[in-house]
Symmetry: C2
Subunit: 320 residues, 2 copies
């Protein structure tokens, strides 16, 4: 059901991967912009975006894509922000709002703000949503439904621009929150960045073992390991840039994680069952709260595929 | 489709939680035993098991349950094995096979074998399957479909008994593998035990922060954290006992994990993007292999609930 009147005349999506293509799809499906244009540095991405009809026009040059846009959404890896901002800055339409979807907000403000001409407003944003897949074909309009989007404007940012970006995300089905950039980076370090890092790490550790073969790791992954491989299948470029651009907060949270892990290791070595039991009980409460908050379902996902992968039920045993 | 002839006359399931109740259900559904009896030390468990009709008889005393059984399945936490084995040993029927489902195999052999009378055979087993839920109501017959079950009999164990236990698991839909107990414990330390430990640990670390509130951790958990909370919601008693009973292998694997994590931490501190990118690329390959091996689906599970939690699509934006 499209809005009577789109929020924006022209939306330019710069970078048409999982998130960019989901935004383009949502904008189309919910009638959020009269015209949707996209830019991507990758030729295969541009071809896919064109074939999928994700935008009215698809450009190789981001400066061309932004010239008529009143909302520009940066959806490129964090490492490309400074160059993209410097490149599109002079081409921006007066009064254009620039926003983004990057997972770190301090670095984004540092990299983008200096390149925007007077009269353009930067409203940094971060939809906390995603899947482990990448590319233009991986996106879907419902990706942001029920998920939080965090905006981190500076105190002096024009309120009307912040409001328009907020309305855009609300129309995508998101719940919108405002936060200090520094605080955002801390919160995401523990809820997203460090979890990804330790998932990547354990998959790497398992891959390096000599005593356990790769085939064994794969066969017996249903014991818990496979959940980590899903997270560790996320886009390598995006995640490299996250760690390089949220270094301080990640190192701080990682320090605490390691400290706690060493304490657990010691409890195991000394057979301190009560300390283990107490922690394992406490963590259940948080799980319950996440389900109650609608950020997770209670379906027993460990058992996933168990019914689906083997079709009608096992054959009867041979007893003769 | 029940077998012509059940594999066992009487199956006794000792401990009727998630795994025990799934075994009872599978045995019933696939006709693997003529009679199914159960025992559980917990009165509420016994009541639930009776209400759910999981067994033909439900006992508080395990010794009573085993007296006619030709297959006894121990499904209690690892910490209870020695006491249960000592208690049921004298009550076992001559020729009975005792098997189990414990996540560590060296400790199980140490705790059970000395208590079995001559003529009874112990065939240690471990179905690598489960969910994050616990209790008699959480089980389901299809839990073992397509999953591996690892048997770790000693070289001198009677081959016919091993074969009967193998046939039992195959009839439950499992793929069955044989392994040295020591090797089993190493493999599971990396594919299951350490993943659970780091999941419990990061949930604890997040819960302890002063700079980030619990409410923020919950709201923004879709960034990766929530996947860890699922694992960290597993049964506390079971997992305490796993770590206490597979100490050597867990400490060994944990040492490697921490070593690798410290190297990653250093790469982040020094801005070594290539090292991060290389690891993050390598881990994708393992994910692919797990999916190809049928141990995981390729559905973009990060997006789970996004379509399900918000029913018809977001409201059109207000633009008046």
């Amino acid at each position: 059901m499209p809005a009577q009147q789109p929020l924006f005349e022209t939306l330019a999506v710069i970078g048409i991967g999982l998130i960019g293509s989901s935004i383009a799809r949502a904008a189309r499906e919910y009638g959020l912009a009269r015209q949707i244009v996209a830019a991507d540095a990758s030729e295969p991405h541009r071809r896919q975006a064109t074939e999928l009809g994700l935008a009215d026009a698809v450009y190789g040059d981001a400066a061309e894509a932004v010239k008529d846009a009143d909302l520009v959404m940066l959806c490129v890896p964090l490492g490309a922000y400074a160059a993209v901002a410097a490149h599109i800055g002079p081409a921006l339409k007066p009064g254009a709002i620039v926003s983004d979807v990057g997972s770190c907000k301090q670095s984004v403000i540092r990299d983008v703000s200096p390149h925007l001409p007077a009269g353009c407003t930067f409203v940094p944003g971060h939809p906390v949503a995603g899947t482990e897949h990448s590319g233009p074909a991986a996106g879907f309009a419902a990706l942001f439904h029920g998920r939080w989007c965090i905006l981190t404007p500076e105190p002096e940012t024009e309120a009307a621009a912040v409001e328009k970006v907020r309305a855009f995300w609300a129309a995508c089905g998101s719940k919108v929150e405002q936060m200090e950039p520094h605080h955002h980076d801390l919160v995401l370090a523990i809820t997203s960045h460090v979890p990804h890092l330790i998932a990547y790490n354990i998959v790497g550790t398992a891959d390096d073992l000599e005593t356990v073969t790769e085939s064994e790791v794969i066969k017996y992954s249903a014991g818990g390991f496979r959940d980590f491989t899903r997270i560790a299948a996320s886009d390598p470029t995006m995640w490299r840039d996250v760690f390089l651009n949220n270094r301080e907060a990640v190192l701080e949270m990682l320090g605490r994680f390691t400290e706690d892990l060493i304490a657990l290791q010691r409890a195991i070595r000394w057979g301190e069952g009560d300390a283990l039991f107490d922690l394992f009980t406490r963590t259940r409460t948080i799980r319950r709260a996440i389900i109650d908050a609608g950020q997770e379902t209670n379906a027993p996902d460990f058992g996933r595929g168990s019914a689906a992968t083997v079709a009608p039920g096992p054959a009867a045993p041979k007893t003769d």
